[in-house]
């Protein structure tokens, strides 16, 4: 049984059908890429997967449990973390504090600014470990707004990883990064790969085709193609296109 099992997800907003019917099964430990043109419904699908949008039809199972229609915090509690296309960090907090406020233990204790500022050593240590994972070991005391764009991206992933998720959803992780930033991010994601299940929306095809185990191509709110990168690259039209370059 796959860790994530999505069947027949349909979403409409009034007259607009955003997702016609999406099926997806992601086994534990897989890196599954989602690609597709703008407006194809990729982010809406993420919103459904993470409980921000309730589907009109269809079901989502997580490790066999039906989680369709659960709110985002309930889904997060079940081990689904996500990063956003638009970054969502606390700019005036340090990198370590940003990770700390996302730690499940810290959140369970509730927000308390007296503690949030200098913190509990246990949480601070845990947050520092996560920062080390994403290559920000020496930037724990830097305020989020003073970090470079690439470091902020890495911090966003650290915040998600701090929740110790089983599933990490990344929405266009390379967006806005230069080629050096993309390389660093690829190295980071490469280290995470296999340790947890990753679902990533991505427009950078080189990034996606070099890292993903399988890719689903979404268009018109449906999965129009799916396969391992080398399988998708067999298509004659793909060979003639820019995608063919990564073969």
């Amino acid at each position: 049984m796959a860790l994530i099992e999505v069947a027949g997800i349909h979403v409409r907003f009034g007259d607009r059908v955003v997702l016609e019917s999406i099926d997806l099964a992601v086994p534990e430990g897989e890196f599954h890429g989602l690609m597709g043109p703008n407006g194809a419904g990729k982010t809406t699908f993420f919103n459904v997967l993470t409980g921000r949008v309730r589907p009109s039809r269809g079901s989502i199972r997580l490790d066999g449990e039906d989680v369709t229609g659960l709110g985002s915090h309930r889904i997060a509690a079940k081990g689904v973390a996500r990063s956003f296309q638009i970054m969502t960090l606390f700019d005036d907090f340090t990198a370590r504090e940003n990770v700390m406020v996302g730690l499940p233990g810290f959140r369970a204790r509730g927000f308390d600014m007296r503690h949030a500022a200098d913190g509990d050593h246990g949480f601070a240590k845990e947050a520092s470990e996560v920062l080390t994972t994403v290559g920000l070991a020496d930037k724990g005391d830097v305020r989020a707004k003073d970090l470079s764009y690439g470091d902020r991206r890495a911090l966003e992933i650290a915040v998600a990883l701090g929740q110790n998720p089983r599933v990490l959803c990344l929405d266009e992780p390379t967006s806005g990064l230069g080629s050096d930033g993309v390389r660093r991010l690829a190295a980071l994601v490469g280290r995470l790969k296999g340790k947890l299940t990753i679902v990533a929306i991505e427009h950078d095809m080189e990034f996606l085709f070099s890292l993903a185990d399988r890719i689903s191509v979404i268009h018109w709110g449906q999965v129009v193609a799916r396969g391992a990168p080398h399988e998708l690259q067999q298509n004659e039209w793909v060979k003639r296109s820019n995608l063919g370059r990564f073969a």
């Binding site: 409409r12 007259d15 607009r16 059908v17 194809a40 193609a225 298509n235 003639r240 820019n242 995608l243």
Partner: protein, 219 residues
């Protein structure tokens, strides 16, 4: 025997001008029956009636006379919200679900099918660089293999558009001045003077080259 996938039975759509004395300004006439799953290419100049034809097929616009049957069901008798379970209309990269509602939905019937049998792709945005075109064409083949009817409308403005049509479509509908004619293959379509007029000289040469078995563009 199973009902034909799509029947346009003496469908007429007349657009008129004037309140007291109505002058017809445009008439679409369509009579056709498609029994088997297939991929159909639709071509024709702007204003020839392609969109109106699609609207008739999806039930989003009411015919002046005649009937449209999708898998045996008169789509114009089905509840508006359920018509997309029979026929579905994709315009460029979006999906269209707007219906001209003349009859209250409660008086209409439920759709007998849950997944659409007819898929209409109205000028899907193709480009050669990103490779999606290959995935889309495979998607059309998959739908057909699942027993669906795929209708693809394309404006050939580049030679590879013609390649796409010639590769994917098994038959063609040519829409000109509100008239719809059916052609069994790309060569038969290319022989039509009205199609050649619509294409223009350069595209006609490319179409002839494709028919002669030569690739239109060196790859």
């Amino acid at each position: 025997m199973a009902s034909p996938l799509l029947v346009l039975d003496h469908v007429r759509k007349v657009y008129t001008r004037g309140r007291l004395v109505r002058h017809p300004t445009f008439t679409l006439k369509a009579d056709l029956e498609i029994d088997q799953p297939s991929i159909i290419g639709v071509v024709g100049p702007n204003g020839a009636g392609k969109t109106t034809l699609f609207e008739m097929m999806t039930g989003s616009n009411t015919p002046s006379s005649g009937h449209v049957y999708v898998a045996g069901t008169d789509i114009h008798r089905v509840k508006y919200r359920e018509r997309d379970r029979l026929a579905i209309h994709y315009h460029q990269s979006y999906q269209v679900r707007r219906f001209r509602k003349l009859v209250p939905s409660v008086l209409l019937e439920k759709s007998p099918t849950s997944a659409p049998m007819v898929h209409l792709f109205d000028e899907p945005q193709f480009n050669l660089q990103d490779g999606y075109i290959g995935f889309m064409l495979d998607f059309f083949r998959k739908l057909r293999a699942e027993g669906r009817l795929v209708v693809l409308c394309l404006h050939p403005t580049a030679t590879w558009h013609l390649e796409v049509l010639a590769e994917i479509a098994e038959q063609y509908l040519l829409v000109v001045d509100g008239g719809v004619t059916r052609h069994p293959d790309f060569a038969a379509l290319t022989n039509q003077a009205r199609f050649r007029n619509y294409l223009g000289a350069e595209m006609t040469r490319a179409a002839d080259a494709l028919c002669a078995g030569r690739r239109a563009v060196p790859s």
